[in-house]
């Protein structure tokens, strides 16, 4: 179903339908995260991917056009071959990965284990994800927040969110 909705995004020419397909894709991948026991990530995926970004895409469609522009399709097989080759290499690489849920992986046996063992005594909260995110890796999270802030400022500068207000105020005073 993930694959079907991903193909749908590319296939459909009506951009509204494409936006809906990408929302469906996000919801399905949120389900996938729940199955992998990554509920925190699933939360984010459902809210950001399916909710907010769909709304933003719809907002962009309202600002631009409903339909994708018609293109003259040239028969060009080279990109297709390249994509298939890359996909095959990636699948070949994934054969080396440890089995799903295996307990002997490096991620499970060194750092992850340390966090799981030391969180109850050092921090004393049940949600290890929060402990790692906010305490052990606090500095990284500070960086992430700064990135989110910078991205927001960047979008506002590009779309003129600040200027618009000022202009409105000026008009009001005049």
């Amino acid at each position: 179903m993930l694959v079907i909705s991903a193909v749908g995004v590319v296939w459909v020419r009506h951009l509204f339908a494409a936006a809906m397909f990408s929302g469906i894709f996000s919801f399905l991948s949120a389900l996938l995260f729940v199955m992998l026991d990554a509920v925190d990530v699933a939360f984010t995926e459902a809210a950001v991917g399916a909710g907010v970004s769909t709304v933003l895409v719809l907002g962009t469609i309202v600002l631009t056009k409903r339909l994708e522009q018609e293109r003259k399709v040239k028969e060009n097989l080279r990109p297709l071959i390249l994509v298939i080759l890359t996909g095959m290499i990636l699948i070949y690489g994934s054969l080396d990965m440890p089995e799903f849920g295996s307990s002997n992986t490096p991620a499970q046996s060194h750092l992850g284990l340390t966090y799981l063992e030391s969180t109850p005594e050092q921090i004393g909260i049940p949600n290890v994800v929060t402990a790692v995110l906010a305490s052990y890796r606090g500095f990284d999270t500070l960086g992430e927040v700064a990135v989110v802030f910078t991205a927001g400022v960047g979008v506002l500068v590009l779309l003129g969110g600040f200027m618009r207000n000022r202009r409105r105020k000026d008009q009001g005073e005049l």
Partner: protein, 146 residues
């Protein structure tokens, strides 16, 4: 959207619960899945839903753009101040044990709570601001094209 009675009533019912759920995810993040990022996005989603159904003017009457712009900076500020506070008490940067030196575990609780609050405020502010910036631009296409 004036004619969609069901949408309007359901939205009015839902928005309160969505915000409540956002606050739960925010402040209960220590014990259950979730945290600042998720809470901020859910909080923003409530306002975006309200804005979609009732229009930009009514949602901006509740939460004007200058507030969301300040929220963006306020969150980062809270986060950094927690770090600098522990810095000045002779601990490492962002070492939450500084908040209650007699009982470092409690300090961790307070620190995580404050830091997550900062994250949540920034994320909510950014998402709502971006939504405002998109929607406040005038539309070029007409309704018949749908």
């Amino acid at each position: 959207m004036n004619q969609h009675l069901v949408l309007r009533v359901v939205t009015k019912l839902m928005v309160g619960f969505i915000i409540l759920f956002a606050l739960y995810v925010q402040f209960h993040g220590d014990y259950s899945p979730g945290g600042g990022f998720q809470a901020g996005v859910i909080f923003a989603a409530a306002f975006i839903l309200y804005g979609l159904v009732f229009g930009l003017e009514s949602v901006q009457a509740v939460l004007p753009p200058w507030v969301t712009h300040k929220m963006m900076a306020l969150g980062v500020l809270i986060y950094t101040l927690v770090g600098i506070y522990s810095f000045f008490l002779g601990f490492n940067f962002l070492d939450y044990g500084a908040l209650t030196p007699s009982h470092p575990e409690h300090g961790q609780h307070y620190g995580i709570l404050l830091v997550e609050l900062g994250v949540g405020i920034t994320v909510a502010g950014v998402v709502i601001s971006i939504y405002y910036a998109f929607v406040s631009r005038s539309s070029t296409s007409k309704d018949e094209e749908w």
